[in-house]
Symmetry: C2
């Protein structure tokens, strides 16, 4: 009997062309999941992710759903997946979900974290999960700028898709900037995120932190609705999808 | 003027053929350090390590010494090294040392840690720094076995070099086995360690932990002085040199 399952997934995106399965790219997270599930189920399988992560971006809490016709228990499915998936993808949880649960349409919010390292040394053991900064940014200035960006705004200036046809209005409910030793974490909570949005927000905040922009200038950047007005696109390896929220 | 320096070094050994520079292996930690220092000093340089780590073994506290004729300050030398060394090698500290300081001859002890993961999931973000266990070993049995191995013994049974001509007597002052979540750490302190010794000790302790050997059988393994009497050689990626001690 066909059953809908909710999957919670963690992955190191370093080796992958992103989440989304593409006909020409073998190395995608969705593609790897589908190919193991198809072997398990003996039938074609479609995995629906809560969103797409780009090439090189990581996840500690990606959510997906999939319909399967199997007699296996939730834990058996999880263990089967973990046995046959590569070592940089782990399914943390498999749970039976209601027939109508849709990982993307039903998501009400997400949390992303962008991690940087700014210290005199090098993050040898974390180097694939942070972006190394040349200089120490000013936390207070960045927090002031983040306050301008928090709330419901049109984030067209922070959208990396020049042909975006849908709304670019998002509600960013919080931006937290914390330091832990030489590590600097930017944590974003919001209802939805546009393409490259977290990486452009972080690049723009770091330009404020280095004195290149003022915190107050964020108002004009938002109002311009032009990608060219916002800051630098940060590299993918510092980004991690932490959580997807549902009602 | 020629000055002797003490270096404290951290590295991810995954990509390397070990610490020791070899004529036919370009990828060694010593080789990388020497080649950057030679560019800096404009003269041939010999880096002396406290010991050799094998291919794939990591370090958070390797110590080395090197004689340099330079006007640069300690911090300038450190920053120069970190700028030109690959991102998986970091020099944590450079300090002027007495002329007679020798990183290997003067070392009085070392601490190694062997890390394992035994849980239902997979250590996606730490996978290069642990060995994944299939089963959960018994901690109490392993601690009992470790007590037999602690102290001054002839560790010939735990020596991976079949042509070892020097003494195989070592004084292991402590073996601590701790669990932190799904991670299991074996921490060894001793005056000296033989080739593969920590990896063979850990493999043997894990055989005790799985019930394959008794804790009491360690006495006979030590007494045999034969490699074939000890257990499995664990893979390199779980091993890390944590500290080198000096008077």
């Amino acid at each position: 009997m066909d059953q809908n399952y909710k999957l919670l997934i963690s992955y190191d995106g370093t080796r992958y062309h992103g989440w989304e399965a593409k006909p020409d790219a073998e190395m995608t997270i969705q593609g790897k999941l589908e190919s193991v599930l198809e072997k398990m189920a003996g039938a074609p399988v479609k995995v629906i992710g809560a969103g797409r992560t780009d090439a090189g971006v990581h996840a500690r809490g990606m959510v997906a759903n999939v319909h399967l016709d199997t007699e296996m228990s939730e834990d058996k499915i999880r263990n089967y997946l973990n046995r046959y998936l590569p070592e940089d993808i782990c399914v943390l949880e498999v749970k039976a979900a209601s027939e109508r649960f849709h990982a993307r349409y039903n998501a009400t919010g997400k949390t992303y974290r962008y991690s940087c390292y700014s210290g005199p040394l090098k993050p040898v053991f974390n180097r694939k999960y942070v972006c190394v900064l040349e200089n120490e940014p000013n936390l207070e200035l960045m927090r002031k700028a983040a306050a301008y960006l928090t709330g419901e705004h049109d984030f067209a200036s922070f959208c990396g898709n020049p042909r975006m046809k849908k709304s670019t209005v998002c509600n960013i409910t919080s931006i937290e900037i914390t330091r832990s030793g030489a590590y600097l974490n930017f944590t974003y909570q919001g209802d939805r995120f546009l393409r490259y949005m977290v990486r452009i927000l972080t690049g723009t905040l770091l330009e404020v932190g280095s004195g290149k922009r003022s915190p107050e200038s964020m108002e004009a950047v938002l109002a311009a609705k032009k990608r060219s007005e916002a800051g630098y696109l940060m590299p993918p390896q510092g980004l991690c999808l932490m959580e997807v929220r549902y009602f």
